[in-house]
C-alpha cells in the first residue's frame, strides 16, 4: 500500500537551509577554515522566511546557510589548499622539534599558496559589481596601510595595501572623478564617481592608530587578502580604460630596473606628479553636450556642469603645503581640481620662497606672510570641492575662526533641521532652498500667538451686561485648528490594517520633528550667548 502521509521536514525550508554545524560536518573543515572560506567566497547566512520549519520544529536561535551555497563551497579547489596547509603545519612542527634546519628550509620553500584570481571572477562576474563593493575594500585597505607590521600583519600585505590604495588615488586624480569630501572626527571621507558608481571610503587621520585588544585581526587579514587581489584587478582595468601604464609610471618610459628603486617609488606614490600615458591610446577629448547646457532644470545638465567645474577648479593655481598639513589628502583634492602641489622636500622641487605659489596652506600661526599669495587653512580646500567653486578666502585665513564644516552626504528633506550656514551654502550652489526653509519646524515663540483676553472680574449676584455681537474669527489660528480637527476625524476612520503603519510613520515624523526643534533651539541659544 502506498504511503499516504509525507514525513515531516523532508521538503521546503527544512532542506533548503543548513545550519553551521551541518555545514562544518559536510565540508570537513574547522570553524576557522570555514570562516576564512566564507569570507573569501562571499558566502553569508540567510534569514529563512519560515524559521520554525527550517529549524525542524525547534525555535532555537540558529544561523542558517543556503544548502546551495554550502554545495558551492564543497566544490571549491581552495579547500584542498587549506588541508595541505594543515599538513604543512604538522610537518613544520615535526621538523622544528627535531631541529633539522635544511629540511625546514626546504619545507618553507614548498609552502602551499593559493591564488584568488578565479574567486574574484566568481564573486564579481561583471566589472560593475566589483565597483559596487569597493567601499568596504578601500576603507579596509586604507586602514591597513596605516598599521605597523606585527606577527599577524605581514610586511608584504601592508606594503601591498599602501601600493594599491595609492594607485587607486592616482586613478581618481587622473580621471578627476572625486566629487565630495568630508573631514570627520573619525577620518576623512571621500566620494568618487567611477564608471557611474558612487564609491565612498574613509581614511583614518594621519596619526598612529591605537592598539586594540578586542579585535580579531585574523578575520581582518582574511578580508584584506581578498581585497588586495580584487583591487589589483580593478586597478588594472581602470588604468587600462583611460590609457595609463600599469604599474604606474612618471614622465617618460623608464627601464625596469630603475622602476624598482625606492626613490622612484616614492615619487610615484606621493601623488604629486602626473602619470605617463600610453602613446597608442588616442586622447579622448571632452566634447561638451551643447544642447544640454541650455536647460537649467535638467539633472543631467546639472551633473555635467558640476563635473566640469570640479575639473577646472584649481587650474592655474600653485599650492604650497606647510609641513603640518595632511599632505596626501590635500594633494589628492588639489590635483583632482587641476592644481599643482608642492611641499618642503617634495618631488616637485617647489621652494617655499618661489614666486609661482598662489596659495599657501597653513594650519598653525604664521609670523611671516608673503603679499603675493593667499594663505588658507586646510578646510578651505575641502569646502571648495564640496561647493564646486573657489570660495572666498577671507573666512579661512590663519587665525580666523573657521565656518562650520558640513557633510555633503546629508540629503536635506523638508522638515529636517538645516543650519543657517548650510542653507547659505546650498543657496550659493544654485539649489532651491525655499521649500526647505519653509518646512523647518517653528519653535514656540515663532508661532502666531493668540491674544489672551483679560476678562473683567465678575461681580457677585445677578449681573446684567450689554450683549455683544458674535464675531467670526478670521485669524490663521482658526484655520489651523479646523484643519487639525479635520485630520483628527480622518484618523478616527482609518482602517485597522493601516493603523499600525500610520502610527509608526507618525512616530517617526514626530521624532524627527522633535530632533530638529531641539537643534534649532540650541542654535538660537548659542547665537544669543554669542551676541
Amino acid at each position: 500500500m502506498k504511503d499516504r502521509f509525507k514525513q515531516k521536514y523532508t521538503a521546503g525550508a527544512a532542506v533548503a537551509y543548513m545550519s553551521r554545524k551541518q555545514a562544518l560536518k559536510k565540508l570537513q573543515l574547522t570553524l576557522k577554515d570555514f570562516r576564512r572560506l566564507c569570507i573569501i567566497k562571499g558566502i553569508y547566512p540567510h534569514e529563512p522566511a519560515h524559521k520554525k520549519q527550517a529549524n525542524k520544529g525547534s525555535t532555537a536561535n540558529k544561523v542558517f546557510y543556503y544548502r546551495k551555497d554550502i554545495n558551492f563551497l564543497a566544490h571549491e579547489p581552495i579547500i584542498n589548499k587549506f588541508r595541505d596547509y594543515k599538513v604543512f603545519l604538522r610537518k613544520l612542527n615535526h621538523l622544528k622539534a627535531k631541529k633539522e634546519e635544511d629540511k625546514l628550509k626546504k619545507l618553507y620553500e614548498n609552502k602551499p599558496v593559493y591564488s584568488l584570481d578565479t574567486i574574484v571572477k566568481e564573486r564579481f562576474p561583471t566589472f560593475g559589481s566589483a565597483l559596487r563593493d569597493m567601499d568596504d575594500a578601500l576603507s579596509l585597505c586604507f586602514t591597513f596601510a596605516m598599521l605597523p607590521h606585527t606577527r599577524v600583519l605581514k610586511e608584504g600585505m601592508i606594503d601591498s595595501c599602501r601600493k594599491l590604495t595609492a594607485e587607486f588615488m592616482h586613478y581618481v586624480i587622473e580621471s578627476q572623478s572625486l566629487r565630495n569630501t568630508f573631514i570627520s572626527i573619525k577620518g576623512i571621507y571621500y566620494q568618487a564617481e567611477v564608471h557611474g558608481e558612487k564609491i565612498t571610503w574613509v581614511v583614518p587621520h594621519e596619526r598612529g592608530l591605537p592598539h586594540v585588544t578586542d579585535v580579531d585581526f585574523t578575520v581582518l587579514v582574511t578580508f584584506v587578502e581578498f581585497y588586495i587581489a580584487m583591487l589589483g584587478f580593478v586597478n588594472f582595468k581602470l588604468y587600462q580604460d583611460i590609457g595609463l601604464f600599469y604599474p604606474p609610471q612618471i614622465g617618460q618610459v623608464v627601464k625596469t630596473d630603475e622602476m624598482e628603486t625606492e626613490e622612484y617609488k616614492e615619487k610615484v606614490y606621493s601623488l604629486a606628479k602626473p602619470l605617463a600615458k600610453r602613446k597608442d591610446v588616442e586622447q579622448a577629448e571632452d566634447d561638451e553636450p551643447l544642447d544640454l547646457l541650455g536647460e537649467d532644470s535638467d539633472a543631467l545638465a546639472q551633473k555635467v556642469r558640476e563635473a566640469k567645474s570640479i575639473k577646472t577648479m584649481f587650474k592655474g593655481c600653485v599650492f604650497y603645503l606647510n609641513r603640518e598639513c595632511p599632505k596626501e589628502a590635500l594633494t589628492f583634492i588639489i590635483r583632482n581640481g587641476g592644481g599643482i602641489v608642492g611641499w618642503e622636500g617634495g618631488p616637485t622641487d617647489l621652494k617655499a620662497d618661489s614666486k609661482n605659489i598662489s596659495h599657501h596652506v597653513v594650519d598653525r600661526p604664521m609670523d611671516k606672510l608673503e603679499v603675493n599669495r593667499l594663505y588658507v587653512q586646510p578646510q578651505w580646500v575641502f569646502d571648495c570641492l564640496n561647493a564646486r567653486r573657489k570660495l572666498p578666502t577671507e573666512r579661512y585665513m590663519p587665525g580666523v575662526a573657521l565656518p562650520p564644516h558640513f557633510s555633503p552626504f546629508t540629503s536635506e528633506k523638508a522638515g529636517d533641521y538645516i543650519p543657517f550656514e548650510r542653507l547659505e551654502e546650498l543657496r550659493s550652489m544654485g539649489k532651491d532652498v525655499s521649500d526647505l526653509e519653509a518646512a523647518i519646524p517653528k519653535t514656540m515663540d515663532e508661532l502666531p500667538m493668540r491674544r489672551k483676553e483679560v476678562k473683567p472680574e465678575k461681580p457677585k449676584g445677578i449681573h446684567i451686561a450689554v450683549g455683544q455681537m458674535h464675531k467670526k474669527s478670521k485669524e490663521k489660528f482658526h484655520e489651523t485648528v479646523e484643519k487639525g480637527q479635520e485630520l483628527k476625524m480622518r484618523e478616527l476612520m482609518i482602517s485597522k490594517k493601516h493603523q499600525r503603519v500610520y502610527h509608526s510613520m507618525k512616530t517617526t515624523f514626530k521624532r524627527n520633528r522633535n530632533d530638529a526643534l531641539k537643534l534649532k533651539k540650541k542654535a538660537k541659544l548659542a547665537k544669543a550667548t554669542e551676541a
Partner: protein, 674 residues
C-alpha cells in the same frame, strides 16, 4: 689517654654568657664523634701502660646500650665487671662549678662522661681533629689533596707512530652510501614519485580579469542564477553634520545630553561617537574606535544573516481614508449654547417633549424631577420624589403630558407634568382619573396605586430603565438585578403588569420597543434578542461584539439598532443584514454611556465618560443598492469629571432641531447648537 666513651653535659648545668660558649658547643659535637675513634685504636694488650691503669678498668660500666637516664632515680649508675654496683658520683654545686670554671685553665677541654660519671680531658691532637671536621677539612691531619699529577701517557714525543696500520682504500674513493641515496632520488624523480627542485616563484601579475565580460556565452546556468539571487550587503550609513570635526554649535552635546549618552547602552545610542569641535585640523586626534568599527563591519559582512524586506514608501496621508468635507454635511451641533443648572449631584436621565420639543424633563441623584424650558433654559417645575431618579421618559403621544419616572425604592411613577397646553393637561388629568387601579387581581406582583395627578407602581425590584411603546399605552421597565423576571411590560389603560419571560437569559441591561411592529429588543451584556410579542417567540439573536452593553437605541423605522458599551465600543446593527454589526467603532477613551439617533436629520451621537460627545453623520438607505454612510463630523466637549471618573451620563436629540442635549455627572445639562 684516649677516651673510650662519648659524653654530654648535664642538663642542669647552667651556661653563662661568656666568650667560651662557642668552644663549648664545638666540644659537644666533638664528644659525639669521639665515640667512633676508639674502634680503630690498636688493641689494648699490646700497650703496657694501658694495662697498668687498673683504676680505669674498675670504673668501666657494663650496662651495655641501656640509656643512662634510666638510672636517674637509683643511687648507682651501673655495674662493673664483677657485678657490683658503681656508685653515682656526688653532684657538684653551682658555686663549686663556677669557681672551677674561673680557676681551672683546662676547664674548656673537659667533657663530662655520663657513662662513668667523671670528666674527661681532651688532648691537643683530639682538639685539632675536631677542629678540622668542624671547618670542613680532611679529618686526617697532614693530608695533602693537591698531589702532583702523574700522567698515564708519556709527554715525551717519539719519532715512531703508535699504530702503524696503513690507510684503507675507502678513504680515497666516493661514498657508496651517498651514491646509493642519490640514485634512489633520481629514480624517484624519473618514475614521477617525487618532484625536482621547484622553479622560482613567478611574480604575481595583474591582468584584465573582465576582458570577456560582454560575452556571456561561457556563463553557466548556475552562475546566472547565483548572480540573480545574490543579495549585496547594505552600505554603511554616510556621516551627518554631527560627525564633522568643526560642526555648528548646536550639534555639540550639552551636559544633559552627554550624561544621557554616557548612561545609555552602546547599542541604544543614536550616535556611536560624541560630537566634538576642534579649531584646527592638526588638533584632531585619532579616532580610537576606528579599527573596531572596521572589524564590526567585517563581522556584518560575513556573519549577519540577510533577508529581503519589502518596505512601504508611502506618504502617511495616503493611508487616511477620504472623508467628505464636514461643511457639506451640515447642520450638526458645533457650539455649546448654555448650561442648565439646578440639580445637585448627577443628572442621570433627560427626555424631551415629543413633536414640539419645548420642554425638557430631567431626573437626578438629588431625587427631583425638573421640567425645563429649552428655549430659555429656565426650570419651570420641580417634582420631589422619594428616592434617587434613575430614568425618565416622556410619553410619545403628543396629546398627553405624561412622564414616566423610575426612582429608587422600587417605584415607577406616571406623572402629569402640568406644563404645556392647558387642554392637553386637562385631557391627561381625565385619562389618569379613568385608570382602573381599583380592579386589581389579588396576589398581583406589581401594585398600582392612584394618587392625586399621578400613578404609583410598586415594583418587586429596583428599576433601572423605563421606556414607552410608540403608541403610548404600553411601557416597559427593567430591573437592576440579574434575575429572570427583570423585565415587566405594563399597560396603562388597564392598569395591568405582566412579565413576558420565565427563564434567565443573561443580565438584562436595556430594553426598547420596535417603533412600528409588536417586537421587543432585549439587550443583555453581550447579546441582543428580538422577540415577537404577538406570537411570543424569539425572532433573532444578534451578536454584537461588545463585552458590556450599556445603552440601546433604534432609528425611526426600527431597521437599525445602535448599541453603546462600557468597553468604549459603539456598534451599528443593520437588522436587514444578518446578525453581525455593520460597523464597530472605538472612538472614545472611556465607557460609552448613551447613544441617540435623530428622528429627522441623519445625526447620531454617543457620549462617554471621557468628557466628549461624538457627533456622526449617519445616513441610512433603505434600498440595498446604496450602503449606509457613517462619518465623524464633530467632537463636542462639555461638563467636568467627577472624582469617580463619571462625566456625561445621558444624551438626547431635539425632535425637530439639530440640537444635542447632554446630561452630566456634575449636575448640569448642556445644550449644543450650531
Amino acid at each position: 689517654m684516649a677516651s673510650t666513651s662519648a659524653a654530654t653535659p648535664l642538663k642542669n648545668k647552667r651556661k653563662f654568657e661568656n666568650g667560651k660558649k662557642k668552644p663549648k658547643t664545638l666540644k659537644d659535637e666533638f664528644g659525639e664523634k669521639l665515640d667512633i675513634k676508639p674502634v680503630i685504636v690498636p688493641p689494648k694488650p699490646a700497650d703496657e701502660y694501658d694495662y697498668d691503669s687498673s683504676d680505669e678498668e674498675d670504673l668501666r660500666n657494663t650496662i651495655g646500650n641501656i640509656p643512662i637516664k634510666w638510672y636517674d632515680d637509683e643511687d648507682h649508675i651501673g655495674y662493673d665487671k664483677f657485678g657490683e654496683k658503681i656508685a653515682k658520683p656526688a653532684k657538684k654545686g653551682e658555686i663549686e662549678t663556677f669557681l672551677e670554671k674561673m680557676e681551672d685553665p683546662d676547664y674548656w677541654r673537659k667533657v663530662f662522661d655520663k657513662q662513668t660519671g667523671t670528666d674527661v680531658k681532651l688532648t691537643d691532637e683530639q682538639i685539632e681533629k675536631i677542629h678540622n671536621i668542624a671547618t670542613g677539612k680532611y679529618p686526617t691531619i697532614g693530608y695533602n689533596p693537591y698531589e702532583p699529577f702523574l700522567d698515564i701517557f708519556s709527554s715525551q714525543k717519539e719519532i715512531h707512530p703508535i699504530d702503524n696500520r696503513p690507510e684503507p682504500k675507502s678513504r680515497f674513493i666516493p661514498s657508496k652510501d651517498e651514491m646509493r641515496m642519490v640514485s634512489r632520488m633520481v629514480h624517484a624523480i624519473k618514475m614521477g614519485w617525487a618532484k625536482g627542485p621547484r622553479a622560482k616563484k613567478e611574480e604575481h601579475k595583474s591582468y584584465d580579469l573582465w576582458a570577456s565580460e560582454d560575452a556571456l556565452d561561457n556563463v553557466t546556468k548556475s552562475q546566472l542564477s547565483r548572480m540573480r539571487v545574490h543579495m549585496p550587503a547594505p552600505k554603511v550609513a554616510l556621516p551627518t553634520h554631527a560627525e564633522s570635526y568643526n560642526p555648528p554649535e548646536e550639534y555639540i552635546f550639552d551636559d544633559e545630553e552627554r550624561k544621557k549618552w554616557e548612561e545609555a547602552e552602546k547599542e541604544d545610542r543614536v550616535l556611536n561617537f560624541m560630537p566634538s569641535k576642534y579649531d584646527a585640523l592638526r588638533k584632531v586626534p585619532q579616532y580610537d574606535k576606528f579599527i573596531t568599527e572596521r572589524f564590526e563591519r567585517c563581522l556584518d559582512l560575513y556573519l549577519a544573516p540577510r533577508q529581503r524586506k519589502m518596505r512601504i514608501h508611502a506618504d502617511p496621508t495616503d493611508l487616511l481614508p477620504d472623508l467628505p468635507n464636514p461643511n457639506d454635511l451640515r447642520p450638526f451641533p458645533t457650539t455649546l449654547a448654555f448650561y442648565m443648572r439646578g440639580h445637585t449631584g448627577q443628572v442621570r436621565a433627560i427626555t424631551v417633549e415629543p413633536e414640539r420639543g419645548e420642554l425638557l424633563a430631567s431626573g437626578g441623584e438629588d431625587g427631583t424631577v425638573r421640567i425645563w424650558m429649552i428655549a430659555t433654559g429656565r426650570c419651570i417645575k420641580t417634582f420631589q420624589m422619594d428616592g434617587e431618579v434613575t430614568s425618565v421618559s416622556f410619553s410619545p403621544v403628543a396629546d398627553r403630558t405624561l412622564l414616566a419616572v423610575a426612582y429608587e425604592g422600587k417605584y415607577v411613577a406616571i406623572l402629569n407634568t402640568g406644563c404645556g397646553d392647558r387642554l392637553h393637561v386637562q385631557q391627561t388629568e381625565a385619562l389618569l382619573a379613568e385608570t382602573p387601579t381599583d380592579a386589581q387581581e389579588d396576589g398581583a406582583v406589581v401594585t398600582w396605586r392612584k394618587s392625586k395627578e399621578k400613578l404609583m407602581l410598586k415594583m418587586p425590584n429596583e428599576v433601572r430603565q423605563v421606556t414607552w411603546h410608540s403608541k403610548g399605552d404600553y411601557f416597559a421597565s427593567v430591573a437592576i438585578d440579574d434575575i429572570a423576571k427583570s423585565v415587566y411590560v405594563h399597560q396603562l389603560s388597564k392598569a395591568k403588569s405582566q412579565c413576558p419571560f420565565q427563564k434567565r437569559k443573561g443580565h438584562v441591561q436595556a430594553v426598547t420597543f420596535h417603533p412600528t411592529q409588536a417586537r421587543l429588543f432585549v439587550a443583555t451584556k453581550i447579546h441582543v434578542r428580538e422577540y415577537d410579542l404577538a406570537r411570543c417567540v424569539l425572532v433573532k439573536k444578534l451578536i454584537t461584539g461588545c463585552k458590556h452593553i450599556s445603552t440601546m437605541a433604534t432609528d425611526a423605522n426600527g431597521e437599525n439598532l445602535f448599541l453603546g458599551g462600557l468597553d468604549r465600543r459603539f456598534c451599528w446593527m443593520d437588522l436587514q443584514m444578518g446578525n453581525k454589526p455593520w460597523k464597530k467603532l472605538k472612538h472614545h477613551t472611556a465607557a460609552v454611556r448613551s447613544v441617540a439617533y435623530h428622528k429627522k436629520y441623519p445625526l447620531l451621537a454617543t457620549v462617554s465618560d471621557d468628557g466628549t460627545a461624538m457627533v456622526y453623520y449617519a445616513r441610512i438607505y433603505t434600498d440595498f443598492v446604496k450602503d449606509n454612510e457613517l462619518y465623524p463630523v464633530k467632537r463636542l466637549r462639555a461638563h467636568e469629571k467627577t472624582p469617580n471618573d463619571l462625566c456625561m451620563l445621558h444624551t438626547t436629540w431635539h425632535p425637530t432641531q439639530p440640537w444635542l442635549i447632554t446630561a452630566g455627572a456634575d449636575g448640569t445639562i448642556a445644550l449644543f447648537t450650531y
